[in-house]
């Protein structure tokens, strides 16, 4: 074993130099150059696809937001209880309340009693808000996304909200339907992913209407 010692020590010396060289190439040069290229070629994307309404930055069109208002009631911790603001299209439930600094899902299992109760509660709330039968509420309206920041809802959930938004904003149903139709995306290339409606873009379009 003693005869191996100098060899082992030499390997550690090589290893240290190799690690430092690779850290310089992969950890400094690579990210700096790629950031420069990304900023030059795709400035908007590289900085989070920010959208503006009347000149003001309101959101990233990739990151969902909560369209809620203070209900005037407080929970047991003294925190204001937020409820859906009926003048806006609603996004999906979020395990992180759309806090973009704390992404993530609920991680509750398929037979979890708390999840079951939450789903039943959400179904009732959504049905009451939209004035429809609970059986008409689609799955994405009662489940939290994986990221907690899902900007999209299903076309079914968007359609469910059209009448209410039109009524609250004194717009015609056709006007709101057209807005939803314009923003609805089909599957990419016709078969990738799922059809969806981006609520952030939709509400920005509503806000731009005034």
């Amino acid at each position: 074993m003693a005869s191996n010692l100098p060899g082992s020590v030499r390997q550690f010396g090589v290893a240290l130099r190799a690690l430092l060289v690779f850290t310089a190439i992969l950890g400094i040069v690579y990210p700096l150059v790629m950031t420069g290229v990304a900023q030059a070629l795709f400035h908007g994307n590289a900085n989070g696809s920010i959208i503006k309404v009347n000149g003001k930055e309101v959101a990233s069109d990739l990151i969902g937001q909560a369209y809620t208002m203070d209900s005037g009631k407080k929970d047991s911790d003294g925190k204001a209880i937020m409820v859906a603001d009926p003048t806006w299209f609603q996004t999906r439930p979020s395990a992180s309340d759309y806090d973009a600094k704390a992404s993530g899902g609920s991680n509750l299992g398929p037979n979890n009693a708390d999840l079951l109760a939450a789903i039943e509660e959400r179904r009732k709330t959504v049905a009451a808000l939209e004035g429809v039968d609970p059986s008409q509420v689609p799955p994405d309206a009662v489940t939290a996304s994986g990221s907690g920041l899902d900007p999209n809802i299903s076309p079914a959930y968007a359609a469910l909200q059209v009448n209410r938004v039109a009524r609250e904003r004194s717009l015609s149903v056709e006007q709101v339907q057209k807005l939803v139709k314009d923003i609805t995306e089909g599957r990419t290339l016709g078969f990738l992913g799922e059809p969806r409606v981006n609520v952030v873009k939709l509400n920005a379009a509503l806000a731009a209407l005034g």
Partner: protein, 553 residues
Amino acid sequence: MSDTAAGLLQVGLLLACLAAVYRPFGGYMARVYTSDKDLRIERATYKLFGVDSKVDQTWAVYARSLIAFSALSVVLLYLLQRLQHWLPLSLGLPNVESGLAFNTAASFVSNTNWQSYVPEAVMGHLVQFAGLAVQNFLSAAVGIVVAIALIRGFSRSRTDRLGNFWVDLTRTVLRVLLPIAVIGTVALVAMGVVQNFSGGHEVTSVVGQTQTLPGGTVASQEVIKELGTNGGGYYNANSAHPFENPNPLSNLFEIFLLLVIPVCLTRTFGLMVKDKRQGYAILGVMATIWSAFVVLATLFEVQGAGSATQAAGAAMEGKETRFGEWASTLFAVSTTGTSTGAVNSMHDSFTPLGGGVPLFHMMLGEVTPGGTGTGLYGMLILAVLAVFVAGLMVGRTPEYLKKKITAREMKLVSLYILTTPTLVLVGTSIAMGLATARASILNTDSPHGFSEVLYAFTSAGNNNGSAFAGISANIPFYNTALGLVMLLGRFVPIVFALALAGSLARQHPVPVTPGTLPTHKALFVTMLVGVVLIVTGLTYFPALTLGPLAEGL
């Protein structure tokens, strides 16, 4: 178009893309590892390292170099986290606590990328791009060079030399990983992934609420996270986060990236052992099992079992609208069949059997198609076992690729195969025996809680990194236990694989006779599929019955 037709076309496009690059990329990698010419930049790096690129190493020196490099990598990554507060671009975050820093260093150096922390709240930009992303490259390269060394064990004879670790490592980084990462970064940014040094960008929504959008060098890290089958997310939500994976196209591209090297290495293998059919046979085994698991996982998720799932009407808890069930299960099976562990949906919220599929897929040892390099060497070792079993059945001396499988080879193969299950099952048992460890379970009201613990140790032992993420793993017990399991699960099998390579390289090739079992035909492919499933099944069946099977059946 129906959901099923669209879903199948989506899988079809992925397979078509992989098929298109299979020959050119597999051939390119074979040339990288057989060429005796160094690039100018490589000669410069060898001078900096202080190594002679023309000197080949024995398996023991190759292994020592690898271990020394990885050990120092753990130390550097640990220090970077412990000192982050005093370094630039920390975003004002404090130094990472010691247990977590050890766990994370072990995790990224072992190519696991288990994350028991919320990245947005713990890791500043510098640790991400100068520490974690660097290991995303290097740990992937370490896996690949072990596979190359094992291939040389078969392709060389009457030598004790397997190649030079430093040369193989440098070529992997500079000729294989970095060029793809550069192109992939630009492609991802074009699709909407962010790439900046922002410490957070505040916007005020149309209802007047403020939201802070996180920044980061996400695209450049995302690409190597998938390409190197690492899986550690820049953000907590990993590839479910819209800034990491904004749309269905980026999703397919990321799945492609995480499969491309493991798949194409089978071509490299076929070329290097001068029998391309051997590569196809190995690919055939990988593809058979991967396809079956995609079908099963999708079937279970679309069926939507579970009381909560049925109340919702579909298995959409933990899934993104833009991906839905099909694109989520395709990602889940690919991430657990490789050693990636990135997730675009939360496996913890999958249906009981739907979530059992990714768990069982990891248990196969991640050989379908496996991590970068690890998948190939893992599968070749199982192929040796299959040849041995076949030899026992018909009473012939087992041979694989013209090398005799003797008692010494079988000892190394057995030790390799036993290491991971031992770590997983012993680790799980200890955790279930400790009250503090049991307290970390989120879903305590069903066998699902046991699945969370089993998944954690399976993920660590197999260097996957995905989680049934409900478990609160950031406690001293899990940080230490999982950190050790990750390191042992990575480096102990590597030493056995390199020892096997050394043992094979020393042999004389035996001539192929009519009595030799052909290892490129459908019969052998079927046998190897059987061996993969039976070895794993027998090892883990009792544990699975306590978790996903108890919940789902």
